[in-house]
Symmetry: D2
Subunit: 366 residues, 4 copies
């Protein structure tokens, strides 16, 4: 993520010349060896190993660490009126997310959350179609986010498998994107949910050399560590204005690398998006019979004028360029930015409601 | 449906020469004018307007009427050891379905239920892949069945919109197929569910000329009748061996005509089927990177040897030929037939659990 | 082919009730054992082994044999005012095709040729779109017909590999369909062509038990026979009104079973068809950005009203039902039928020009 | 193109840290106003309006101008042992291309040509599959490159429509890519061709404000200028080792933005690529039934390790980064680079043979 943002910042001057000028001052991390290399590669001036050493010297903090490290530095920065851009989900607990959103509301600084898929041109176009009423009243949202990198039981344990650090698994990592996209596209929030979480593999090997990992020299056994988050989740949802939602994400969906798919059905039309083909939007118009595959690469498509001619596709990283452009422009101008910590909190409430529903077995109000 | 079965029966001799010989004796219905025409067109000897007049004279009863007409004639036939082939869902209520399954278990006759999609060659191939262990342990089932013929609020009311006749709406009509396919492919049943039903349009116009319809001559108002079933449903499920399921069907999914789609993800592979492309099965093998689109038209694919050369695709109606072949062969030979009324009851229990869950807001054991 | 037509005839009464009544009187063939079985299976009254014995007793002759057997029986039948329905390509030589077309023009009987893909609903819809001017002026036609059943050098020799029987290989077997479809959709003929033929495997084993095949008992060697036709062809074309055409077919295109694909690009729109998904037509409308996938299964689509509800797809064999309906109706009514022997001759002239061009290395006028 | 390369150069340090360091010294162009802006935006030190003023001061010349401006500066640079990277096609005439290739062979400098699609990871993977023998003997190549930006007769005239500047139209602009990809993937050259060129719109309006454009103030008529190149071409080809080729490109293929599609069929397998979905490669393996859609985003796919995790797709511009990395690395190391001017000349010979064949109407040896 640090690399994706550093790259995005480096590309702004050429493609978004009116973006604020950015200096990549200080990189924050833990491993000095890695930091030394990264400072060089990513074009920073220097590094520190304690965020407290950086926070008073910068205008903007990018908080891209594990979920449990989102709250404290973000809140401290906002209290110093340092702009904060924070990875998703907002935090590892609802309580922490609420404190962060509160800090943001008290601060003069801008607080953005990294729902970068809002900045895919096709998603932007989709939002415009919904907002314009082109699709009529939305009846259905179905969003799946499928990956398969944990389908192998020998795939190593990481902080993403620890509830106390990540908060949840596929739910917070992948589902957070689906829920935010749905709320963004519909312009309304999820009201109540019924959730279902599953952990298919209960413990995983700690990779050799990992922090706290095993010394397997001398034929020692591989250390196993408990998986305390979900490998997959599903949820049914009801939106404020009445649309039905079905959500699902998994790290066990063999055959899928990064299939973030969302479909909306309205009374007058429908649309469908798949991140693995992010330049395309399938649209069923009011007078269509089926779906039209729209290649979203025309000059008047969102953000495209800054890039390449029609049919010359962009990639995943371009969402970061758009996102940083919007975030930094808003921060400097003091204008509203979305998605902000309020949007992050709205998603966190849904994540939390899904977890509670899974525990109680009951529909739960967000 | 009558036409689909009459056609299937007519085609057996040419394509399945070892199928039992069939005489299309008597057609049962209500409207004498229509029956007269249909007897001619579908190749029957005669018609009756009361099923009681037919039931003692035939070897097999095809019960293809509205759901609330499934129980009485089916039970009467089975009590007479007349084989019964019944449309899905098995009945309009769980109680009736239980009585039907009981009658079947007491009878020497064969009782089949019309889950015809089990007889799609691609589905058959899919079942064989799962059963052989090729996909490993199944973690995920997701099945959607999307249509859009009721998205227009002016689409006319029919018995399919009446709870007392149909039992449910999209759930029983479309969801029944999804649930049966899932249970068939996995070889295990749904254990517990969380369900969600929605009715988007509360009343519909009665079509002019419909039984009990309005006389609009003289500028009379259009009669509206209440919709008492779901326009769409969704469900989360847990299977006996632990797979997660997500189900959804709608008659409001604009852009979709008959999109009966099911995907399974196993630890070693995945597969995906879409009824609108029924000759294809997408398979992610253990050594695949993505999905391979398999055109299921080779001579050693299920049922294909009876038909055409590779690449010469078959259609929806062919599922009925296969189904009738299997049903009639089993009936004559006295061997087991699947799907039988027990399978129909298994699905009905899931439908019922989804409805109960929707009412209570709680996960419900099947 | 005999089976496909017998099936089509058998299905007419139920689905096209106004089709002429048909009696399947006499089956013509060579092998008495096979004929005996086929008469039974396909519902004929009797068989003969010499077509001369049948031709004066029937109203219609279906000439479905190898290409070199098309001319003599067809001409004899037409001279007796017996209607003739002949497989494609019209003949094994241009000269024979011309004699057949001449006989047809002199006869009071109807002479049809089996370009059955004209009767795919999606193709019919495509033709209507072009004819209505919806696509504007057509600039491009590209048509490929890809199969792979001869990619294996051990695939056995058959009459289809013999120039004196088949006339040509992939060209006449597959290319004939592409060329007819192009001329049908555009409503204009190919003017001149540049052709290219290739034979990848020069000889093939004669299958054991084949007529004239080897006696391999006692360890005898497999008999090899020369392949004297093309395994694949390509052609560039210019149409009468100026469209450019590119054509290609192969029996060596691994991964393709029956990929008869055609695309047209007009000044105002485009369309694309693939026989392996024969219920679909991809259309780029004047106001479209990309292609819309149209599922051609609505009641007002060509022929569909006779079949099933929207989204309930038909198969390859249905093209034969439509074709026989049109042919027999025209024969009985004495009205024009297309495609007729004139259309067959038009295609044969293109096939012949492609072969001549391949020999001379020059563009050749049709 | 200047922007695409400037961007690529700017991105090398972060993603290909071992790439040679690059200073963007001097931008060459004609319009001082535009140059001033571009120097700023693209990160150059200064600009000149005569390439002669730059050529002795730089290590590398990027020659990205119109085709007729390729020869003179490239040759001058190579004579000064300045590395040259030149846009495709190599030149506007075969004679000029030969002089350029000769200059390259005499120079110690590296001379690369901008066939950037060789640097798509999926194409690289495809080449490896062919080279490894995985697909067996290649029988078929079919390559189309479809765009539609000139389908509107009012689309303005540009140098790309002038034979004396561009050499050819769709042929040299799009076809050059197809031909190079085919020769690259097969590892062998086209031997002989039959070509077909067409110009659908004979003259086009000169855009207001264009160099030499019309003064339409005062109601003057729009100036029209003649189109002297092809709007579309097709070609049949024979490769050195016997594969058949079919090529086509158009600027009139409505519905297509940038559809650079190539398919190969070998005796043991096939593959298919579409630039509009550049992260995907469809592969038919020896033991496959259909085609598998491979998402070419795994760490061990060509170039991917430098970028993002699996499923996080890259875009068109990334091909430029790979290309510049390889070109600059080879230039500094003095190692071979491909595609070089020899490869450019090989393509130019095919382009020329296609044009000659179109004029003579005969197959033409390359």
């Amino acid at each position: 993520m640090g690399r994706a943002h550093a790259n995005a910042l480096a590309r702004l001057p050429m493609f978004f010349p009116d973006a604020p000028a950015v200096e990549r001052e200080v990189l924050i991390g833990r491993d000095e060896g890695e930091l030394g290399r990264a400072v060089e590669e990513l074009g920073f001036d220097r590094y520190v190993t304690d965020w407290r050493d950086a926070i008073e010297e910068v205008d903007v903090l990018y908080n891209l660490g594990p979920n449990d490290l989102h709250p404290e530095p973000s809140i401290a920065a906002l209290e110093n009126d340092v702009h904060v851009f924070c990875e998703k989900p907002l935090a590892h607990t609802l309580d922490a997310a609420e404190r962060m959103a509160h800090a943001a509301s008290e601060s003069d600084a801008t607080a953005g959350i990294a729902f970068n898929y809002r900045f895919v041109p096709a998603i932007r176009l989709a939002r415009d179609l919904v907002a314009s009423g082109e699709l009529g009243e939305i009846h259905h949202v179905r969003a799946t986010y499928l990956q398969d990198w944990l389908a192998d039981p020998k795939a190593p344990w990481s902080w993403r498998n620890a509830a106390e650090r990540a908060g949840s698994g596929a739910l917070g990592d992948l589902g957070a994107h689906s829920i935010d996209l749905a709320q963004f596209l519909l312009g309304e929030d999820v009201d109540r949910v019924s959730g279902h979480l599953r952990t298919f593999v209960e413990e995983r090997p700690v990779a050799e050399g990992a922090t706290g990992g095993p010394d397997t020299e001398g034929g020692g056994e591989v250390e196993m560590r408990e998986v305390t988050v979900d490998d997959a989740y599903s949820a049914q949802a009801e939106f404020a204005d009445g649309a039905m939602g079905v959500f699902e994400a998994s790290r066990f969906a063999t055959g899928h690398d990064n299939a973030n798919v969302i479909e909306l059905n309205g009374s007058n039309g429908s649309l469908r998006f798949d991140l693995e083909r992010l330049n395309e939007l399938d649209v069923h118009w009011d007078d269509s019979r089926g779906f039209e595959t729209v290649l979203v690469t025309e000059p008047d498509d969102p953000y495209i004028e800054q890039w390449w001619p029609p049919g010359h596709v962009i990639g995943w990283e371009h969402t970061f360029v758009h996102e940083n452009y919007e975030f930094l422009s808003a921060a400097v101008a003091g204008t509203d930015y979305a998605p902000d910590f309020g949007d992050g909190l709205a998603v966190q409430r849904v994540l939390n409601a899904i977890q509670r529903s899974d525990r109680t077995g009951e529909w739960t109000t967000v």
